[in-house]
Amino acid sequence: MRGAIVMRPLDPGALLTEVSAPANGAAVLFVGTVRDINDDRAVTALDYKAYTPMAARELEAILREAESRWDGVTVVCEHRTGELSLGDASVVIAAAHPHRAAAFDAARYVIEELKKRVPIWKREHYADGDLEWVDNGAQRAEAPR
């Protein structure tokens, strides 16, 4: 388990290598990248801002939850912050397990929980010069735990 909030470009292949092990017959990699369109508006760039120490803490909590729900899974995640361009990877998750179901489910769990709980915000830059904070529409209404 390793989670990190970083300001450098992400390297998906490095995370895939990190979770490889002789017993792990299945690895799943998730890569989230900056899209050119959101809600029908042309996006030119964006910046991610984090409450970094809490984001790292919450991300690590999610990864520990995944490793406890899917026994034997190895899972790592890096989320990038700062200014990103179109096509840049903003988040990479790699999960590996002897069996594919656990690798898929753990990777999916991490991205779903990350989008709900990890304090990271995104400001989109639009072609018309406008800037806007956007959210994932999945904020929990109640304080978790």
Binding site: Y48, K49, L114, I120, W121, N136, G137
Partner: protein
Amino acid sequence: MMGFSTPVLVFARYADVLGSGTVTVELPSDATAGDVLSAVRALPGADQLPPSPLIAVNQRYAALSQPVRPGDEVALIPPVAGG
């Protein structure tokens, strides 16, 4: 008993509406996270905050009943957008 003043970290849209990334509020000595919210609501621009923004105490999401003591790290957490 004496109250105390504490900084509150604010981020993203909340920082825009409150005009700063950190605001300072006065709290009673037996304060809770709910008291932090009430104090923030009295600040200029706070009318643009949602009805019940999330709050974190010492980098964990907190219930409104959670005590807040001098030295605790307190933050308002806007709807997140990671991923």
